[in-house]
């Protein structure tokens, strides 16, 4: 078939398009179809025209299908919706069932909630945990902020606090007459001490004399003597003093003896000391054979002690010196601690061994056993002193 074929000449573009349409929809048959196909393969520009036509019309047709399908799906959905409404009608018998109108705000809130449920759950958990952690933290912080070391206080009395006490001032003025010029100065701290030997050795607690420049020992009858530390045992809070005063002539024989061994739980014990300017007696029982936090160098006793009692003697019922009062536990009722006399004895022994020229003549006799408590005290009181610390 050539270009001069009458069929070719007769055909307009419109004719071709009609032909293409027919061919595309499969309506072209027989020789017409065969001719067209032959031409399509033979003539590339012709084929291109067909291709362009095809692209356009298939898109058109598919577009039509798309619209039709959309309608179909919408119809199906409409059916479903109608069925649901019918169900509602059947259940309630009311086709005009009032529909719950959710305001846009509520809808937004519901949307928000639905979307953020997980996030909000996490946020809430974190908030609750934070509250608890904070509460625990505050509790811990408060507990750790005690004024003393782990709730333990030593009982050195700070005299500054009673400087304004008129009686103390008065006594200072009186003491000036005794030509003890240092007595005009108020001591910074004071504690208790007691005689170790008749020669003038005294025992007190280390922390009482800690940092002292000078010491003064005052007896019950207001006698003052200078003293100096001879040895200290910091770990067991012990200090041994010696009176160095030309006016000192020695003590009478000590009525108490020092116990080398341990005392028993439940022993009735008592102390004498100077928590204030006058001698104070206090008693209790041996509560434990270890001290603060289980320190085996100390006893725990149920004596109510106060600052100023430090360094005082702890005695049992039979007048044995069994300990040296050291400290008190803040947060526990009636818990005081005293260094065991066994440690004092060990200390004395080692000192005696170290310097044989300076003997420690410890008394071995006990004059207190068997006597009543008040009698014991009467005998003891001359051997218990105020230890005044000057810095």
């Amino acid at each position: 078939m050539g270009l001069n074929h009458p069929l070719t000449l007769m055909m307009t573009e419109a004719d071709y398009y009609a032909l293409f349409d027919a061919y595309q929809s499969g309506k072209l048959v027989g020789t017409e179809r065969a001719n067209l196909e032959r031409r399509l393969t033979a003539d590339p520009s012709f084929a291109q025209r067909y291709y362009d036509f095809q692209e356009l019309t298939t898109t058109l047709t598919s577009y039509g299908e798309r619209l039709a399908t959309r309608q179909k799906l919408q119809a199906i959905q409409a059916e479903i919706d109608a069925e649901e409404d019918a169900e509602t009608t059947i259940e309630t018998g009311n086709p005009n069932m009032p529909v719950m109108h959710i305001s846009p705000i509520e809808r937004k809130l519901r949307e928000f909630w639905g979307a953020h449920r997980a996030t909000m759950a996490v946020a809430a958990s974190v908030a609750i945990m934070a509250v608890f952690v904070t509460l625990l933290g505050i509790e811990w912080w408060r507990a750790s902020k005690s004024p003393s070391l782990y709730g333990y206080t030593v009982l050195r009395r700070e005299v500054e606090r009673i400087k304004r006490n008129q009686r103390a001032m008065g006594r200072a003025i009186n003491q000036i007459d005794g030509t003890k010029s240092e007595a005009a100065n108020q001591s910074k701290f004071s504690g208790t001490g007691f005689a170790l030997t008749a020669d003038g050795y005294l025992v007190t607690s280390y922390h009482v004399i800690q940092g002292a420049d000078s010491l003064l020992v005052e007896s019950r009858d207001r006698q003052h003597y200078h003293a100096e530390p001879v040895f200290t045992d910091v770990a067991h809070d012990l200090a041994i003093l010696r009176i160095r005063d030309k006016d000192f002539t020695g003590f009478k024989r000590l009525p108490y003896s020092f116990k080398r061994g341990q005392s028993d739980l439940g022993e009735k014990v008592y102390t004498l000391g100077y928590p204030r300017e006058d001698l104070v007696f206090n008693d209790g029982s041996l509560s434990a054979r270890s001290g603060f936090e289980g320190d085996t160098a100390f006893y725990q006793v149920s004596i109510p002690v106060n600052p100023g009692n430090s360094g005082g003697p702890l005695l049992d019922d039979r007048g044995n010196l069994i300990g040296v009062v050291s400290g008190r536990q803040m947060d526990v009722q009636s818990a005081a601690f005293a260094t065991k006399s066994s440690y004092l004895m060990k200390l004395v022994d080692s000192l005696a061994a170290a310097s044989p020229k300076e003997p420690y003549n410890l008394s071995r006799t006990n004059l207190l056993a068997g006597t009543s408590r008040p009698q014991q005290i009467r005998k003891l009181q001359d051997y218990v002193f105020v230890v005044k610390v000057y810095e």
């Binding site: 419109a14 362009d52 898109t59 577009y63 039509g64 799906l73 479903i80 639905g114 979307a115």
Partner: protein, 195 residues
């Protein structure tokens, strides 16, 4: 569903729909609607949005089936879920809802949904352009072309409808309209491509 109809297997669905069985399509639609609806609602969607997304998803499936180019490597249910999930994600992203975590419990499978969706997107673009071109072409071309190609009416019917004196006139008119449509469509198409 309780309508006394036999239930189709996945294979049967595909065959029936390919054949143009509208009842099968309706059954398929009803079967998987609850799953997708639930998913969209759980992820901050409304009921209407769920319906929209589902219909879009079914459309993708339908057109692939009709085209004969659907390759199912999983259940129809899984395929539809994957497609609708993607569609909904896109919508959420458009709504600027980044950071809202999607709450679904299906592991992501290789369903081929991604590729098919890309295809569908391309197809949607063409259809949108076609729709625009048809709007712009004006009368009588719009009705003529829609009549012939969209509504599948024969030339005889259209000749009668439009009152053309003979079939030749109708044929010539159709040709002119097609040429105009071609111009409109391809100019838009090229415009879009040049972005």
């Amino acid at each position: 569903m309780g309508k006394g109809q036999p239930s189709y297997t996945d294979e049967e669905f595909v065959t029936a729909i390919r054949r143009g069985d509208d009842r099968a399509l309706a059954q398929l639609y009803r079967l998987h609607l609850p799953m997708v609806s639930h998913f969209v609602l759980q992820n901050s969607g409304t009921e209407d949005e769920a319906k929209d997304v589902y219909q879009e998803g079914v459309m993708v499936f339908y057109e692939k089936v009709r085209d004969g180019s659907l390759e199912l490597s999983c259940q129809i249910k899984t395929y539809l879920y994957a497609v609708c999930r993607r569609l909904w994600l896109k919508r959420l992203a458009e709504k600027s809802r980044f950071g809202s975590r999607l709450d679904d419990h299906e592991p992501y499978l290789e369903t081929g949904a991604e590729a098919d969706l890309a295809e569908a997107e391309e197809r949607d673009r063409r259809f949108a352009l076609m729709g625009e071109a048809l709007e712009q072409i004006g009368e009588p071309c719009k009705s003529l072309l829609e009549g012939f190609y969209l509504l599948d009416r024969s030339m005889q019917q259209l000749t009668a409808d439009f009152g053309y004196t003979n079939a030749d006139n109708a044929k010539n008119q159709k040709y002119k309209c097609l040429v105009r449509l071609k111009k409109l469509f391809f100019s838009h198409y090229k415009e879009e491509e040049s972005y």
